[in-house]
């Protein structure tokens, strides 16, 4: 697949090249998390792989759970699938943030499941990297991020990796951003979520509102 990767209505982003991974910088429990999940909403036929690294993030996804332990990200009002369609979703709940090797292997396994089920494209999200950085340090997490971005690139997918600037130092965020194809900052504006893009070609400048479409 070579089509550019589009985003849900309301997000102030032009389509990006397939295989792009974006570092989302924002509050793990607020605008950053919301933007990260909205990026995974996808287009018709896409699947989503969501990695949660905290109990709070796991709770946010509870409304998405369907029968048999499966998930459908479109059940999240924040996300809403294309034309109301289901978004086949795999959720990996990380219980041991120190074991990046296990996280990476299990992510790859779930990615393969979505591929074989016929997902046109897999959108991979990590909500959030912040506990992984705290548990492992920047070197190990850099390798992990590079590997995740590499998998996204090899499969022409999309990656959205969240990091909270209140928990991770600016120099580390800069390093992680250089391992990704660009950076999205998220904040809460007067009328809701606002987004700023850096390092991604052909995108709007400055802070832009990201209203939820009715």
């Amino acid at each position: 697949m070579t089509e550019r990767v589009g985003f849900a209505a309301g997000l102030p982003l032009s389509a990006v090249a397939p295989g792009t991974t974006l570092l989302v910088v924002g509050d793990d429990a607020g605008p950053g998390r919301d933007l990260c999940l909205r990026l995974l909403g996808g287009e018709r036929g896409d699947g989503a792989l969501v990695v949660t690294t905290s109990a709070a993030a796991r709770r946010v996804l509870e409304p998405c759970e369907t029968e048999g332990g499966r998930f459908d990200l479109s059940r999240l009002p924040l996300v809403a699938g294309p034309a109301g369609e289901a978004v086949p979703t795999r959720v990996l709940a990380v219980r041991d943030p120190k074991d990046l090797t296990a996280v990476g292997l299990r992510m790859a396994g779930l990615h393969g499941d979505l591929d074989r089920e016929g997902a046109a494209r897999v959108r991979t999200g990590v909500v959030s990297l912040s506990p992984l950085v705290a548990a492992n340090g920047v070197t190990a997490v850099s390798r992990f991020v590079n590997a995740v971005a590499g998998r996204v690139g090899a499969h022409d997918g999309l990656g959205a990796l969240l990091v909270d600037p209140q928990m991770v130092e600016p120099a580390v965020i800069e390093t992680l951003a250089t391992l990704c194809g660009g950076r999205l900052d998220a904040r809460e504006g007067e009328d809701g979520l606002e987004v700023r893009v850096d390092g991604v070609p052909d995108q709007p400048d400055g802070w832009r509102p990201a209203p939820l479409e009715p």
């Binding site: 990046l100 296990a102 990476g104 396994g109 190990a140 590079n146």
Partner: protein, 295 residues
């Protein structure tokens, strides 16, 4: 050394032959097969850009092999190619190893593996550090400039000696960053062996434009756990890139101090001049070498 080989480790001779054949057909890499953890360890050399391994091996596991790879050749990609459920893989003691996984036996598994190997080697997807966007062209340029670093010795030594005096620092270093390592062309005040790229400050500094100053390396989260910096007493860092006319960063001219310190604007400008002079020395040597080759 450029990655030119993929190591395929599988105790099942038939499966190994199939995987090796797919890799030979689908990649431009030489393929070396072996059947055990110990044989794989012996076959691990710097030219191996990727290791593809079954999980269960005679003498250990694929994860143990990946951990060994990280110790010896940390930038080499590791891919577990196995039918074992990744949720059941034992990663005890190997939490920061990081490896890929492709399910052996699944539909299209060999095609997926080949694509992943090609991508991992071309884009170096398991390094623990970012690389410049022009990395391939940069490495090509580097080969032209520092074929024999020892020959560059004295002229660059004068520069590092002068820099240490000018900035009143105990250590000044000119180095280049190749595919996997930082190599030192001239050192004043410090004995520097060749270092893995993931262990050096310059790996990060070379991605910045202008002068990079880190007032206190020990309080920077990227380097706070770097034992080598502490053992060498390196506390503050300033550098500027050594850059070709085409814009490829070959390496850095850097200063270290044993105490935290900053550099004012004038000092930063002077440091940039030193890097320019080092680049001119390298360019002169390149042109001389090219002229000798023409003769």
């Amino acid at each position: 050394m450029a990655a030119s080989t993929v190591l395929c480790v599988d105790p099942d001779a038939s499966a190994r032959a199939d995987t090796c054949a797919a890799l030979q057909e689908g990649t431009e890499l030489a393929v070396v097969g072996c059947d055990s953890l110990s044989a794989a360890r012996e076959s691990l050399v710097p030219s191996v850009g990727c290791v593809v391994t079954e999980y269960e091996l005679p003498g250990g596991t694929g994860v143990e092999l990946a951990a060994h790879v990280r110790e010896l050749e940390p930038d080499t990609a590791c891919i577990l190619f196995s039918a074992v459920d990744p949720a059941t893989v034992d990663t005890t003691g190997a939490g920061s190893v990081v490896a890929e996984y492709v399910e052996k036996g699944a539909n299209g598994a060999l095609e997926s593996l080949v694509a992943l190997v090609n991508h991992a080697v071309a884009h170096r997807t398991q390094t623990a550090y970012p690389v410049p966007p022009d990395e391939a062209a940069r490495l090509e340029a580097l080969e032209q400039y520092v074929e024999d670093p020892v020959e560059l010795g004295s002229s660059l030594d004068r520069l590092t000696t002068l820099a240490a005096s000018t900035f009143d620092v105990p250590m000044a270093v000119i180095s280049v960053v190749d595919e996997r390592e930082q190599r030192f062309l001239s050192c004043f005040g410090v004995e520097a062996p060749t270092l893995e790229r993931e262990e050096t400050v310059c790996t990060y500094a070379m991605l910045e434009s202008g002068v990079t100053v880190i007032e206190d390396l020990w309080s920077d989260p990227r380097f706070a756990d770097n034992a080598g910096l502490r053992e060498a007493g390196l506390r503050s860092y300033a550098s500027t890139n050594i850059t070709t006319d085409e814009g490829h960063v070959l390496g850095t001219f850097c200063l270290y101090d044993g105490e935290p310190r900053d550099y004012d604007e004038a000092e930063r400008e002077r440091l940039a001049l030193f890097a320019d002079e080092a680049m001119e020395q390298l360019e002169l040597r390149r042109q001389l070498a090219a002229g000798n080759d023409d003769d």
